[in-house]
């Protein structure tokens, strides 16, 4: 495994939406990171439609059709469609594969007729249950791999996943504000599982000429972010979520070290850090994913995006058309504004506005702003001796950045919590092996079903 040892960009300032060091081409004339931003729509089937393969295929057919048609009717240059699997599509590899095939055919038709650029991303569900089964050898793993195969065979352009390694530990720890377990579950276990999974995904993609896309720390850092919630929520602290995000970046990076090429997954809010390090195109989501969660970095997270997504919207009627068209429209215009800025040579101005809009709204937002993302990335690569060290370095950096900027105002509770987190992070052992021993002892006791063997330990 070739770990990243230096940054792809010379400075944060060099990073901008629409352009990357390593653009990616696939699909029907589709290029990401080559100077333009594109929208990515994620439609979800209505409950009940998953009952049979036929009804689910019909549901996807309608959703894709309306999404593509809205793009054409408004003159959008291109659109990526993500098939974010409901579990039936992964538990039945032919369902996932056939829906991918159908979606590609629909896009090909539109390409013939109008020349609209397009691509399909298949995001296979990770249904493995680390606290119940051997996640390196279980039926759910077999099915996931078979579904990657069937999707690639059916010409899905991009293969992605939201993998869950280490989740049994991070779930327990995040809910308790326990930074040790969080660092262990994400930084150590999560990264090791990524290595295991992504080797196989990349192999399958290469075999069929698909592009291995990316992963996300949805299962972990998003749990923290999501539980931290809005301004007045009193669940996980927002600073905890911020530090967790930096840890998540170190873990998600593994996919790209294993050969994934991007674009990354939209719900990976650690992606600005990934872009800074790996230089690949990233997908992000913010204000236009309000259908899926309330976002405290609605504009800011566009600052260095290459593919702009809505996370996921359930299919239903609107006063005009359905959600499948509605969200393509909003995304498409968001993207048109970015591309206009690029065409006018004012992309840095627009980026400045995006950042200004949200940077001090919330500490989690703060750490994914380009400047901070870059700093965190630097710490990660500078400490890239092992998964633990780089994740811990990223976390310490995030905590210090927040504490060091007085414009980033914190409530008393949040401030104290962050000081505590930083103290704890600094108190952990220097060696990965020592940290693993420490954690193994603690979490074998408190997390039922936890099994080191799942992570080759």
């Amino acid at each position: 495994m070739a770990k990243f040892t230096k940054m792809a960009y010379k400075s944060a300032d060099e990073m901008i939406f629409g352009t990357t060091k390593k653009p990616v081409k696939y699909g029907r004339d589709f290029e990401l990171g080559g100077g333009m931003v594109y929208p990515e729509i994620v439609n979800h089937p209505r409950p009940g439609s998953e009952e049979t393969k036929k009804s689910l295929m019909r549901e996807y057919e309608k959703m894709t059709q309306e999404s593509m048609e809205r793009a054409v009717t408004l003159g959008f240059p291109g659109l990526q469609v993500e098939l974010e699997h409901v579990w039936q599509m992964t538990k039945n590899p032919d369902w996932g594969g056939d829906i991918a095939g159908q979606t590609v055919r629909q896009q090909e038709d539109m390409y013939q007729k109008y020349g609209i650029k397009s691509a399909v991303r298949a995001t296979i569900a990770d249904n493995r249950k680390p606290e119940e089964e051997n996640i390196r050898d279980c039926r759910n793993l077999e099915l996931a791999l078979a579904t990657f195969e069937s999707s690639a065979k059916n010409k899905a352009d991009n293969l992605s996943m939201e993998s869950v390694g280490g989740k049994e530990i991070s779930d327990h720890s995040i809910a308790r504000g326990d930074i040790r377990g969080t660092l262990f579950g994400i930084g150590v276990l999560g990264s090791r599982d990524m290595e295991f999974m992504w080797k196989q995904i990349v192999d399958i993609a290469n075999k069929h000429g698909a592009t291995p896309g990316g992963d996300t720390n949805c299962a972990q850092a998003n749990v923290a972010m999501f539980m931290a919630g809005g301004m007045l929520d009193k669940s996980v602290s927002h600073v905890f979520a911020a530090v967790t995000r930096a840890i998540g970046a170190a873990r998600t990076l593994t996919a790209y070290e294993m050969g994934a090429k991007g674009p990354t997954k939209d719900c990976a809010y650690e992606d600005p850090i990934i872009k800074a390090i790996a230089g690949i195109p990233i997908a992000t989501e913010g204000k236009t994913c309000a259908c899926a969660h309330a976002d405290l970095q609605g504009n800011l997270i566009m600052a260095v995006t290459d593919l702009w997504s809505n996370e996921a919207v359930e299919y239903h009627d609107m006063f005009f058309g359905t959600t499948a068209g509605c969200f393509v429209e909003i995304l498409g215009y968001d993207v048109a504004l970015m591309n206009s800025a690029i065409a006018l040579g004012k992309e840095k101005d627009l980026q400045e506005m995006m950042v200004y809009s949200d940077m001090y709204r919330d500490p989690h937002t703060y750490v994914v702003a380009p400047a901070q993302a870059y700093e965190i990335g630097k710490e990660i690569v500078a400490n890239n001796t092992d998964y633990y060290s780089r994740a811990r370095a990223g976390a310490i950096c995030a905590a210090k950045l927040i504490l060091g900027d007085e414009k980033m105002r914190l409530s008393n509770y949040e401030k104290e919590d962050l000081q505590r987190i930083l103290r704890e992070l600094e108190s952990f052992p220097d060696k990965e092996a020592d940290f693993i021993d420490q954690c193994a002892a603690i979490y074998k006791k408190s997390v039922p079903g936890f099994n080191l063997g799942n992570y080759g330990l």
Binding site: G18, G35, M36, G75, F76, Y114, A336, I342
Partner: protein, 244 residues
């Protein structure tokens, strides 16, 4: 960095060919046909009268007016004609038809009666107006109940006119609920008439959730649906044909 492409004018890529129209049997009928195809309401009456010199009014109708209108519908369906062209052609066709009827001294037999309305509480009647015009131009007698029509009035009118088909238009989700009430009243009173519901707010799932209901997406569908209804095709079959 390349200049980002902000939008694509797909409409310009799509320019369609010239319109080609079937020829009439002789120059006089050709002029009638041309007037309809061009929507020339100002001259149609004179041209129809010209045609009477060598043709029976029934021939003018069949070989001039109706044939022209068929061409107009085709041009529209092929995307060569825009809606306004179709509507002014209908206007011209109907003016010509009136003149033929005057000449014959009696009304031409219509294919059948259709009752149309816009739902109670709803004043969005533009869709209905288009449906009216297209049905008329296709040979149906339209009983236009207007907009914001109470349920009772629709049921009464249907009892009175015994139409082959009824239509409803609704643009608001809070008014379209009237359609189900109307359908229930029809059922209760044993009226088995196809009830085609359309308009922005209305969706296929909803209309097909009650008996008699058939979903009408585009105004163009109204004439062929009415043809089926007049031919005695039951509502279940019409629904099957257009709604799946």
């Amino acid at each position: 960095m390349a200049i980002a492409e902000v939008f694509v004018r797909y409409d310009l890529k799509e320019e369609l060919g010239e319109k080609k129209v079937a020829a009439a049997k002789d120059p006089l009928l050709q002029k009638v046909m041309d007037a309809v195809v061009e929507g020339d309401e100002d001259n149609i009456i004179a041209l129809v009268n010209e045609a009477f010199k060598s043709h029976d009014p029934m021939v003018v109708i069949r070989e001039g007016l109706v044939k022209a209108m068929d061409e107009v519908s085709r041009l529209w369906n092929e995307g060569i004609y825009y809606l306004p062209q179709t509507l002014i052609s209908s206007d011209a066709m109907l003016a010509g038809l009136e003149e033929c009827e005057r000449k014959m001294g009696k009304s031409m037999e219509r294919k059948g009666v259709v009752v149309t309305h816009t739902a109670e509480g709803d004043i969005h009647d533009l869709g209905q107006q288009i449906v009216n015009a297209l049905l008329r131009a296709n040979g149906f007698e339209v009983v236009d109940l207007g907009k914001d029509v109470p349920v009772d009035d629709v049921v009464e009118a249907v009892k009175q006119y015994k139409p082959a088909m009824v239509t409803g238009t609704a643009l608001m989700t809070t008014t379209m609920t009237a359609f189900q009430k109307i359908a229930n009243r029809f059922k209760r009173d044993g009226i088995e008439v196809p009830f085609v519901c359309g308009g922005g707010a209305v969706a296929l799932e909803w209309v097909t959730s009650f008996d008699l209901g058939i979903y009408g997406k585009e105004a163009q569908e109204a004439p062929p649906m009415a043809d089926d209804a007049v031919d005695g095709v039951p509502w279940t079959k019409i629904r099957e044909k257009y709604n799946t």
